[in-house]
């Protein structure tokens, strides 16, 4: 139970409602699911750590529930309902007071602070409409930033919920005096200062400085031609990693606004991007159902994991991704990984490690349930009734054993 979740250093939420934990050192991916039936209603929208010790995860789903997942136990321990699905899905979640209260923000602009299992939110702020993201300042936990489509960046202090601490202004009209559309998609607080960096749907990256009287962006940089969906700040500072809907991820320098380099390999839109807190690594996930970990120094793919559903969000543990837990086995694997790092001259992007997805086997009665469900949901890629018209070409080499079974937890 807990053995499968404890070594996982990367957590991802998928559109099918499954929480996936990936252990990079062991090269395994595990599925954790709350209910017997998978459902699109449980599509995971955001993930966040419930406490600083990172022993519990909060998983926010489309139907308005927030579930607590314990990493130690490897199971979902708690569920609470935090809003209607009619208000829009969650765009951000944060934790205050070391787990005592929970801040959630919905797409319709309802920012709520929930305390201690109560049904009603303790504080509710209307942030606007069409919010795309809400993020918390990791240094000053009471500050949160929100932004969305035609909804400029606003920084709120949760102790003074009436007015935002900082409201950004739209850019100046362009040379034809037309109003510039703006669409904030993601933001991050730059550590060590007041500044906020945002990425927009019009492929711009803006840096705002609330300490100056200027409400317009202090720095503007552009990348690509497609909406930028996520961004993340590496630990080293001075740069920002952005991803767009075309699967292009780039590192931009925040001093001048120039592109430092691109990370190749993604084929689909980037939905989740996070830089590791201490190691120079970037993890990215997206609609192409892969988790990729790139190294920030040489911008090459270190790990690539196929996770069968479209991935919505990503969370990295603070501890080193490839830590050795048990002495004997891991050392061998770590050595193997270093070798892989060295000889990837000829195959920079498609470096596929020998990743196996070993999921836990289910108990016999759950297997019986499954076989019933399988009979109904038997995949047919052909419309006509006879199955013999379908020819499937199987690859010559035998594929590695990928018995992907969902790990289920009976309702407590």
């Amino acid at each position: 139970m807990g053995e499968s979740s404890r070594p996982c250093t990367v957590w991802l939420g998928s559109e099918t409602g499954i929480l996936k934990g990936v252990s990079v050192s062991r090269k395994q991916a595990f599925n954790f699911c709350n209910s017997l039936q998978l459902s699109r209603q449980h599509e995971v929208r955001t993930l966040c750590w419930a406490d600083a010790a990172e022993s519990e995860l909060l998983v926010a789903a489309v139907d308005g529930t927030v579930k607590t997942f314990s990493v130690e136990k490897g199971a979902f321990t708690d569920t609470r309902s935090c809003g209607d699905p009619a208000e829009g899905c969650f765009v951000g979640m944060a934790v205050l007071d070391n787990g005592a209260s929970l801040v959630t923000c919905a797409e319709s602009g309802l920012l709520r602070v929930w305390r201690d299992e109560s049904r009603e939110p303790a504080t509710e702020i209307r942030v606007g409409s069409d919010i795309a993201r809400m993020r918390q300042n990791p240094e000053r936990r009471h500050n949160v930033a929100t932004g969305g489509k035609e909804n400029c960046l606003k920084v709120w202090d949760l102790e003074k919920p009436d007015k935002p601490v900082f409201t950004a202004k739209n850019l100046r009209s362009d040379w034809l005096d037309l109003r510039r559309p703006h669409w904030v998609k993601d933001m991050a607080f730059i550590p060590g200062s007041d500044k906020v960096v945002t990425c927009t749907g019009h492929h711009q990256v803006h840096v705002y400085d609330p300490s100056t009287p200027q409400r317009r962006p202090v720095l503007e940089a552009t990348y690509g031609e497609y909406p930028l969906t996520t961004l993340s700040l590496p630990a080293a500072g001075d740069s920002v990693v952005v991803g767009n809907t075309h699967g292009q991820i780039a590192v931009l320098d925040l001093r001048k606004g120039l592109v430092r380099g691109c990370f190749k390999g993604l084929a689909g839109g980037v939905r989740g991007l996070q830089c590791h807190a201490s190691q120079p690594l970037v993890a990215s996930c997206g609609l192409d159902r892969f988790l990729r970990i790139h190294s920030l120094e040489n911008r090459r793919v270190q790990h690539k994991v196929y996770l069968k559903s479209r991935l919505n969000c990503l969370l990295l543990a603070s501890r080193p991704l490839e830590e050795a837990e048990c002495a004997v086995g891991e050392d061998g694997q770590e050595v193997k990984e270093e070798d892989d790092d060295e000889d990837e001259v000829w195959d920079a992007m498609e470096q596929v490690d020998e990743q196996e997805q070993n999921l836990k086997r289910k108990t016999p009665e759950e297997e019986a349930d499954n076989s019933n469900r399988n009979a109904q949901e038997n995949f047919q890629s052909k419309t006509s009734e006879e199955g013999e018209n379908l020819e499937k070409k199987t690859p010559e080499e035998a594929p590695p054993k990928n018995k992907t079974k969902k790990r289920k937890k009976a309702q407590a």
């Binding site: 809907t245 075309h246 069968k308 995949f379 890629s381 052909k382 006509s384 070409k393 594929p399």
Partner: protein, 351 residues
């Protein structure tokens, strides 16, 4: 120049030598060489000395060179036939104990194993597919209704292609695109219960692109179209296709992306084919190219069937798959063809 050539031309080793021309060649060479002696000394010093190697490309006369080359090819073919005969004789003698037949390497054989290949027993993928945008069609809740249109101001071939496509796909309607924006057409189509929008893009009077948009909120696939053959260009074709709904064959869509595209194609046609019509539409995927053919078949006896090709034929190559209806600027892409990254390996395919 000539002196340097002689020790280096070892490449003539494998080639055939015809005695007469060999002698003429060596005499020519020796006549040209200025320091014979040096070369001979070099050769005697080496422990293994090769005779002056002869290569076909050293013959300056084109006709003679061509004749020599033909002889070379004939010889090679003879050797190959002998080897084959030998192997056949061996097989006959040994019978079942003969060594197994050698399978030639093809690019499909050598395909790099794709980790996204769908395992039929995989539940997560099965659930993902069961609840994706096509689930309404596969559960029998909607019937396909297709709107075919083109880019603005289409010309001859494209118009004919559209009309022929409309006969192949049941319940399809062709509309003239009067410069209307697709983003405005889509809500109107949804209101009128269309399930698919096909836009055929034209370049210089020839169709070259296809945008296939599943309507309520479904994915949009953009294909490159090539090798379009209209009905009158088909050899030995049959009569016009009838109104019966055809069967659909989807070949070789193995990866997860292939499955999505395969389902997209399957959802174009109604769920229950009319076998009376004996018509079949095939989407065959090979090396990431999708070949569309439309045939009529007839069973001559239990084992043999005859087919007649009707209908247009074309080849598609997927360029991008976008989540949501057509929105190329702001839509999120599920898969984009990035040629320099993905086409770098000849044995790796995405579909």
């Amino acid at each position: 120049m000539d002196i340097a050539e002689v020790p280096v031309t070892q490449k003539g080793k494998g080639k055939k030598k015809k005695n007469k021309s060999d002698k003429t060649k060596t005499t020519e060479q020796s006549a040209k060489m200025e320091t014979d002696v040096e070369v001979k000394e070099e050769k005697t010093e080496e422990p293994v000395s090769f005779p002056p190697a002869f290569s076909l490309s050293d013959i300056k006369n084109k006709q003679r060179r061509h004749l020599m080359f033909l002889k070379l090819k004939q010889d090679k073919r003879k050797q190959k036939m002998e080897l084959k005969k030998k192997r056949k004789r061996q097989e006959k003698i040994l019978g079942s104990k003969a060594p197994p037949k050698q399978v030639p390497k093809t690019i499909e054989n050598q395909r790099v194993h794709d980790e996204t290949t769908v395992d039929p027993e995989d539940e997560e993928v099965a659930f993902d597919e069961a609840t994706d945008e096509f689930s309404a069609y596969f559960n029998g809740l909607t019937n396909p209704k297709v709107l075919i249109t083109t880019s603005d101001r289409p010309r001859g071939r494209t118009v004919k292609f559209c009309r022929q496509l409309a006969t192949v796909i049941p319940n399809a309607h062709v509309y003239y695109r009067r410069g209307l924006a697709l983003k405005r057409i889509i809500p109107q189509c949804v209101a009128r219960d269309f399930t698919y929008l096909i836009v055929i893009n034209e370049d210089r009077k020839v169709p070259n692109g296809l945008v296939l948009c599943h309507l309520p909120e479904g994915p949009t696939a953009h294909f490159k179209v090539s090798s379009v053959r209209l009905r009158k260009e088909m050899k030995r074709r049959g009569k016009e296709p009838t109104e019966h709904t055809p069967e659909v064959i989807l070949n070789n869509f193995t990866t997860r992306l292939g499955h999505s595209i395969g389902r997209m194609f399957a959802a174009l046609f109604p769920q229950n084919p009319q076998f009376v019509g004996r018509q079949v539409a095939t989407f065959h995927n090979q090396r990431d190219f999708i070949f569309f053919r439309f045939h009529r078949y007839i069973f001559k006896n239990e084992k043999k069937a005859g087919i007649q090709e009707l209908g247009p034929r074309f080849t598609l190559k997927l360029r991008s798959l976008q989540k949501g209806t057509f929105d190329s600027k702001f839509g999120e892409y599920e898969w984009v063809l990035k040629r320099h990254e993905m086409d770098a390996c000849r044995r790796k395919f995405q579909l």
